[in-house]
């Protein structure tokens, strides 16, 4: 009887510990940080910006911040501080923020282009990767301009709160292929690697100045969509921020940028491309276009041959697509004609792939991950590291071939020409 009583008291006491005691945090006691911005500071080494998740303005609360025009309102939940390090900055922020900052729900780390080009990214990321709250699935982007302004610009849009907007925007990388989806884990793995280099998505604020309200209308010149950088898309209205292109790094220093189209080619080469509209010039009427929904058929086949110090890389990219439109109304669906579109698409693809490889070789940055495919050429880690793949990438001989097949033609299987 005494034993049973003792056990009962014992188990009741144990129950109190189930609430975690020291580590119990009520959601109202912490402030969740949705975005982190890092820039070079003026009063101190770094400028750290945090945007706090505003619980009153989430989509479930019913007090949303309207549409496109409302995300400029003064946010006292975006705070910036100059500090010698990330942790010092967080501590300094807590002298004015009444709740402990919590980074378990941080969506993205925004790095300024200036900081990225100065080579301080590795230094700043070291504490972040060690921090238990910051998950390795947090995204990383580089922005043109100030991360503080960029983060302030992120607001509610289309019924979604700021964090949700950006989180879903990052997934658009899979739908467009115009920017990569790079997490802290991806970036850090590439940063530390001796056989490939990191990239990050490129973002900017679009001030709508690229949109020409008046002036001469466009002629018939063919232009590849996406050959722009973030912030340059000629549009008016919509979300104030955009992601387009990527930042190329050599170790922890940003050495260049790729525009949207080049980024798409990069994603095709590293096998991370999902889908996107690829615009092909009409082979018979070059002032018209054929948009195609482009997909990878399989991961690119990459063969590496090492001839002493010489690197030879052979890449075959197999793609397929669906015709979305034939502006010329020429019957390209005909089996005798379809090959013309396939050839035109393939040539355009090959040219784009070669151009982006040449550009990255000029920066001596293997952002394609070709080095990963060379790992099995080395017996030991010591042999791999003494080869210095990253140092030799600019001398590599890279040959690219592409294949393209049309799979579907949409709701029309037989185009009838327009009467002249």
């Amino acid at each position: 009887m005494l034993k049973k009583r003792f056990m009962m008291i014992f188990f009741v006491l144990i129950l109190f510990s189930l609430s975690a005691c020291y580590d119990a945090h009520e959601p109202a006691d912490v402030s969740f940080v949705s975005f982190i911005g890092i820039d070079k500071g003026a009063s101190d080494k770094y400028r750290v910006t945090v945007k706090l998740y505003n619980m009153r303005q989430n989509k479930d609360s019913g007090t949303l911040g309207g549409g496109a025009g409302d995300n400029n309102k003064t946010d006292n939940d975006t705070i910036t501080v100059d500090a010698p390090s990330f942790y010092a900055g967080v501590n300094l922020l807590n002298t004015s923020i009444p709740h402990e900052l919590n980074f378990t729900h941080t969506v993205v780390i925004v790095i300024s282009k200036e900081l990225a080009e100065s080579g301080l990214v590795g230094e700043f990321l070291a504490p972040l990767i060690r921090y238990r709250e910051l998950r390795r699935t947090t995204d990383i982007i580089v922005v043109d301009g100030s991360p503080q302004t960029f983060i302030e610009k992120i607001g509610d849009y289309l019924g979604e709160d700021a964090a949700g907007v950006f989180e879903n925007l990052l997934y658009e990388a899979d739908d467009t292929g115009f920017f990569p989806h790079i997490t802290l884990n991806d970036f850090y793995n590439a940063l530390k690697s001796t056989y490939y280099q990191p990239i990050a998505a490129y973002g900017a604020i679009n001030d709508f100045n690229s949109f020409a309200r008046e002036g001469q209308k466009w002629g018939g010149e063919f232009k590849i969509p996406g050959k722009l950088y973030a912030g340059q898309i000629p549009r008016i209205g919509g979300n104030g921020i955009e992601l387009l292109g990527s930042a190329v790094f050599d170790d922890d220093r940003m050495v260049g940028e790729l525009d949207g189209h080049e980024t798409r080619m990069l994603l095709l080469l590293n096998g991370n491309y999902r889908k996107g509209i690829f615009t092909v010039q009409d082979p018979i009427k070059p002032d018209l276009i054929i948009p195609i929904n482009l997909r990878l058929t399989e991961k690119p086949r990459i063969k590496i041959y090492l001839n002493g110090d010489k690197i030879n890389i052979y890449v075959t990219v197999k793609t397929e697509g669906d015709i979305y439109a034939i502006q010329s109304h020429i019957n390209y669906e005909d089996p005798k004609m379809i090959g013309m579109v396939e050839d035109a698409a393939r040539e355009q693809l090959v040219q784009g792939l070669r151009d982006v490889v040449a550009k990255c070789q000029s920066m001596n940055s293997d952002v394609f991950g070709f080095g990963k495919h060379a790992l099995n050429k080395f017996a030991t880690i010591e042999a791999l590291e003494s080869f210095d793949w990253n140092g030799r990438f600019n001398e590599a001989d890279i040959k690219i071939t592409a294949e393209f097949k049309i799979r579907k033609t949409g709701g029309i299987i037989n185009s009838y020409p327009l009467e002249d």
Partner: protein
């Protein structure tokens, strides 16, 4: 009155030993494995398992020579009471050290990732409380609980493996020989004490249903634990390249934390935590209990229950001795490299003496 434990079958024994041996893969061991051998950790551990298998089969001959006896009886029968007791106590010390350091490692990793504000003593005391309850309930309960949980844990483990497919890159297992063929083989042999808990089967020999069951349970436990540890190391190597893998505090935990399928399906590490905590509980309790059992057996005590709480206090205090996580992990590494002295040398020494004495007897008879 001799100490008696309950009886259980091959399945319970296999589950108990496989969980006890495999639990260490959830801590920081994979990190050190990658530091030492690079990307060939999965191969190195199979070599360790093979060496342990050879030791097991060698020591099994003692069980065949002395049926219905456990290893403590055999030590005393072959080497004499004093030397035999000493050999048994060395094995007990090895198991107790394993329990101590595993408990501290568990506490440290929990502190880093899950309960950063909790003092280590809080986590240790919570753990010890459950360990004491289990110890009171006895070995049969521990074994049957292991069997009950084994299926759940295995299902959870496989679920995590499947979910992590998106993050695997087969290229990360190259260069194939990591830091070198020699280093892989030598460390595979040196670190065979990673499977040292297999010797527990010789301690609980009387609870099993005969020597054939002992052999079957031992071999199956080794195979299953070898596969689980090797699979974990292989998948960890495929998730993180070697230069990142050698930095991580809790590799398998981190592998589960980067699993993400869209906005909704993420933060799976909470599932991993359940697997990890239950495995650790069974592993540390088993090591602790068997150590206690050996001591009580050697000291010819009628009842070991009065020893449980004092030993648990010793376990808690010893677990608090390392000053920080680095000291803890250094002890872990030393135990991996030199633990075979505690686990394998006593039964092998007894085997050697037994063989020598039998040879002398056969010479006399000739």
């Amino acid at each position: 009155m001799m100490l008696k434990e309950g009886r259980f079958g091959v399945q319970e024994t296999v589950c108990l030993l496989a969980i006890t041996i495999s639990a260490k893969v959830f801590f920081s061991s994979p990190t050190y494995v990658v530091q030492i051998v690079g990307s060939t950790g999965w191969l190195m551990t199979l070599i360790s398992a093979a060496v342990t298998g050879a030791v097991f089969l060698s020591v099994y001959t003692l069980i065949r020579l002395f049926p219905n006896k456990n290893i403590m009886d055999i030590h005393s029968a072959v080497c004499g009471k004093t030397a035999g007791s000493l050999l048994s106590l060395i094995l007990s010390a090895g198991l107790m050290l394993t329990a101590v350091i595993n408990l501290r490692e568990f506490t440290e990793v929990m502190n880093v990732y899950v309960l950063p504000s909790s003092p280590p003593i809080f986590i240790i005391y919570m753990f010890i409380a459950v360990l004491i309850v289990f110890s009171y309930l006895g070995l049969e309960t521990i074994a049957r609980f292991s069997k009950l949980m084994a299926y759940v844990l295995l299902a959870g483990f496989i679920f995590l493996i499947v979910l992590g497919i998106k993050n695997y890159d087969i290229n990360n297992i190259f260069p194939f020989w990591g830091h070198g063929f020699n280093r892989t083989i030598i460390n595979g042999v040196k670190r065979s004490s990673a499977y040292g808990e297999l010797m527990i089967i010789f301690v609980i020999a009387k609870s099993l249903q005969g020597k054939e069951h002992i052999k079957k349970a031992g071999i199956l436990s080794l195979i299953y634990s070898g596969l689980i540890i090797s699979a974990s190391l292989l998948l960890f190597s495929m998730t993180f390249p070697y230069y990142v893998g050698q930095e991580i505090t809790a590799p398998i935990y981190l592998s589960s934390s980067i699993i993400e399928y869209g906005v909704f399906f993420q933060r799976i590490e909470s599932l991993f935590l359940i697997i990890w905590i239950v495995c650790s509980l069974i592993s540390i309790t088993a090591s602790f209990y068997i150590s206690l059992y050996i001591n009580a057996y050697v000291l010819k005590l009628d009842d070991k229950k009065p020893l449980i709480i004092p030993y648990a206090v010793i376990l808690a205090v010893a677990a608090l001795l390392p000053g920080n996580i680095i000291q803890t992990l250094n002890i872990v590494e030393n135990l991996r490299e030199y633990g075979w002295i505690l686990f394998f040398i006593p039964p092998l020494a007894t085997l050697f003496v037994a063989k020598a004495r039998r040879m002398l007897r056969s010479d006399r008879h000739a």
